[in-house]
């Protein structure tokens, strides 16, 4: 619990610094530190403040230019859900030119400007590689999965170190899972809850990089869902079944029933509550979702063998399972979203790839699959 207080206190200090009137150099240092953590919105605000003071203008413009270069050309999928933002590209060049103008002898600004101009002229720019220091801190934290004898305080230190280096929620969820596996349920719960608010803030700080409102909303929901599922799973382990049910069902709503681990956890809970029909439903939901690791799928299938509705039905367990999964997939198909449904397809100003008007007359009178996509 003491550790958690320390984390909260650290956040309070950052917030206090943010609201205080500080000299330009402090704003510059703060902006750089915030950007190291990938808290873009706050970093930009601090650097813009520092750019107004002529003592720090060159450094601040350069830092802003580098930040915008990253957002414009380099951030695609470096973190889940983030995409390149072409709207920042011109701003990157403007800031870096301003840095060079403020201090023509500043070699690092000249170099950053040349790099950005190179990106602007390039056919394609590869995303930035993952930062090695973050990967190392992730690996250090993950390693505690297989070190059951390590003291809990070490795990919390590893979490704190990683969380300080980059402000995304991933280490909180990883640490909460490790602590659940070690029976440290209360600590796991407080860390998962902390992860939910860290997730909200991180998305908010990088909102424009999600490109579409549905993508940022999806990311908000995923962070909260992951936290609720971990809290519910920890409560389940503590045999606090009513609390576990509330949190696991919250995660189910947020993930729209499409998260394998959550459906599996709900199945385990229902089984412990002696509700075989509900357990069966959740295990089947889980198995009808693609992409879960094989060991988890096996556990869900194993749990189902004792729960078949009519054990004497023809074809045995395999046939029953296949029929149930097929039925669930069909239900998914039928529950397609409503909005433009049953209305005429609106007229769209489509163009060809090279920008000429698109002739869609050939589509008239046909059944049409119309797929909107983006390459990012």
């Amino acid at each position: 619990m003491q550790r958690r207080v320390a984390i909260v206190a650290a956040v309070a200090i950052v917030v206090a610094t943010a609201s205080a009137q500080t000299p330009a150099r402090e704003q510059l240092a703060r902006g750089r530190a915030l950007w190291d953590q990938r808290l873009a919105k706050s970093a930009i605000a601090a650097l813009e403040a520092a750019a107004k003071d002529k003592d720090t203008a060159a450094e601040a413009h350069e830092a802003l230019g580098r930040l915008y270069t990253y957002k414009g050309w380099l951030q695609d999928n470096v973190l889940p859900g983030l995409h390149d933002e072409p709207s920042f590209r011109e701003r990157a060049l403007v800031e870096l030119r301003a840095a060079v103008a403020a201090d023509p002898t500043r070699a690092s600004a000249q170099e950053a400007l040349r790099t950005a101009e190179g990106y602007a002229a390039a056919e394609a720019v590869d995303p930035a590689p993952p930062r090695p220091e973050i990967r190392a801190l992730d690996a250090k934290l993950q390693a505690y999965q297989s070190q059951p004898a390590a003291p809990v305080s070490e795990i919390l230190d590893a979490l704190e170190g990683r969380a300080k280096a980059q402000a995304d929620p991933a280490p909180y969820f990883a640490a909460a899972q490790i602590l659940i596996d070690r029976g440290e349920y209360d600590r796991a719960i407080s860390i998962a809850e902390r992860g939910a608010s860290v997730s909200d803030r991180f998305i908010d700080e990088n909102l424009s990089a999600y490109m579409l409102p549905g993508k940022s909303q999806g990311s908000f929901a995923r962070g909260r869902s992951q936290a609720a599922d971990l809290v519910g799973w920890a409560l389940f382990q503590k045999k606090v079944y009513a609390g576990a049910q509330a949190k696991l069902e919250e995660a189910e709503r947020l993930s729209q029933g499409a998260d394998f681990a959550n459906q599996f956890h709900l199945g385990e809970l229902a089984r412990a509550q002696n509700a075989p029909a509900r357990a069966r439903d959740h295990y089947l939901n889980a198995l009808s979702i693609a992409g879960a690791p094989a060991p988890l799928r096996q556990r869900a299938t194993q749990a189902l063998t004792g729960l078949q509705a009519d054990p004497s039905s023809a074809g045995g367990f395999e046939a029953w399972l296949e029929a149930e999964l097929a039925r669930r997939r069909d239900e998914r198909k039928a529950s397609a979203l409503k909005s433009l449904i049953d209305r005429p397809l609106p007229k769209l100003a489509l163009t060809t790839i090279d920008g000429r008007p698109y002739d869609s007359s050939g589509l008239r009178g046909k059944v049409l699959l119309l797929n909107f996509f983006a390459s990012w």
Partner: protein, 101 residues
């Protein structure tokens, strides 16, 4: 997107069915590179992200609409596929519309 290619193979020679991909990319170079990589066998058009959001209500990609031969939108599927049988799903929607359901 590979599941669309798989699905298209089934309807390629069906004169009653058409596929159209619409890119909402802002970055032309990136789009061109993506298309070179994917080599889609069906036509690809472009629409501004603003219009896609305003007119079609798109707030996520991919978003797929299934339109009947009468020009009425019948199904809409938003986001990635969390359930495992994508080509079968695509085929199901199209076959529903072909039989006039």
């Amino acid at each position: 997107m590979p599941h669309l290619k798989t699905s298209y193979a089934k309807y390629q020679s069906d004169p009653r069915v058409a596929f159209l991909l619409v890119s909402i990319d802002e970055d032309s170079k990136r789009l061109q590179r993506y298309l070179n990589e994917m080599k889609f066998p069906f036509p690809v058009a472009r629409l501004s992200s603003e219009q896609a959001q305003q007119v079609m209500g798109i707030d996520n990609t991919p978003s797929t609409f299934y339109v009947g031969s009468d020009g009425i939108v019948r199904y809409m599927v938003v986001g990635g596929e969390s359930h495992g049988d994508s080509p079968a799903r695509v085929g199901w929607y199209i076959d529903q519309l072909k039989t006039g359901k």
